[in-house]
Symmetry: C2
């Protein structure tokens, strides 16, 4: 039996908030902590936790700095993060097309 | 600011193993526990836990019975489960098209 598409999804990337972080970071060169928190509607603590998981997996880098006098935290995708996100979307597309086929033309 | 597509994803449905359960159950009228376990490459304990979450949310029904003399557990999607899965896929497609737009034609 061939494995189901979800078997190829990586929990590190697939988890809802982390998928959001990676997607937003992918769209910009780098993204600010506060922007992520607002966009994803999560608490700072929850966001920090998910950023920690992604950093530990080598998928993002976290950079501390200043915008004027205000402390800022910037998040960027690594090359590995970009590849992991691409793989997630490849498997999601596979899953979607499998379901669409099962549904027939009314999709 | 408009919320990010992942804000519309429901963790109950989006979680990797549960997404697999719902997708497979959607493809058949009902699906057997052992088949799910093999397809999704999870332990019986892990699968039971995820089925419990889905049942508590009203997305599946779990039915015990026999195939010959062997005890069997069958899983079916409820109407609500079908709607929740459709909504998950609607949001995933939105997320994918947003990313494809950001990537440009080489997608």
């Amino acid at each position: 039996m061939t494995s189901h598409p979800v078997s190829y999804l990586d929990d590190v990337v697939h988890q809802r908030v982390r998928l959001g972080i990676l997607t937003i970071a992918h769209e910009a060169r780098r993204v600010e902590f506060g922007y992520l928190r607002t966009s994803l509607e999560v608490t700072a603590g929850n966001l920090s936790q998910h950023l920690g998981v992604l950093e530990a997996a080598g998928l993002i880098t976290i950079e501390k700095g200043y915008a004027g006098r205000r402390a800022r935290t910037w998040i960027s995708l690594t090359k590995q993060g970009r590849a992991a996100l691409a793989e997630e979307f490849r498997q999601l597309k596979r899953l979607i097309s499998q379901l669409d086929d099962a549904d027939g033309p009314q999709g």
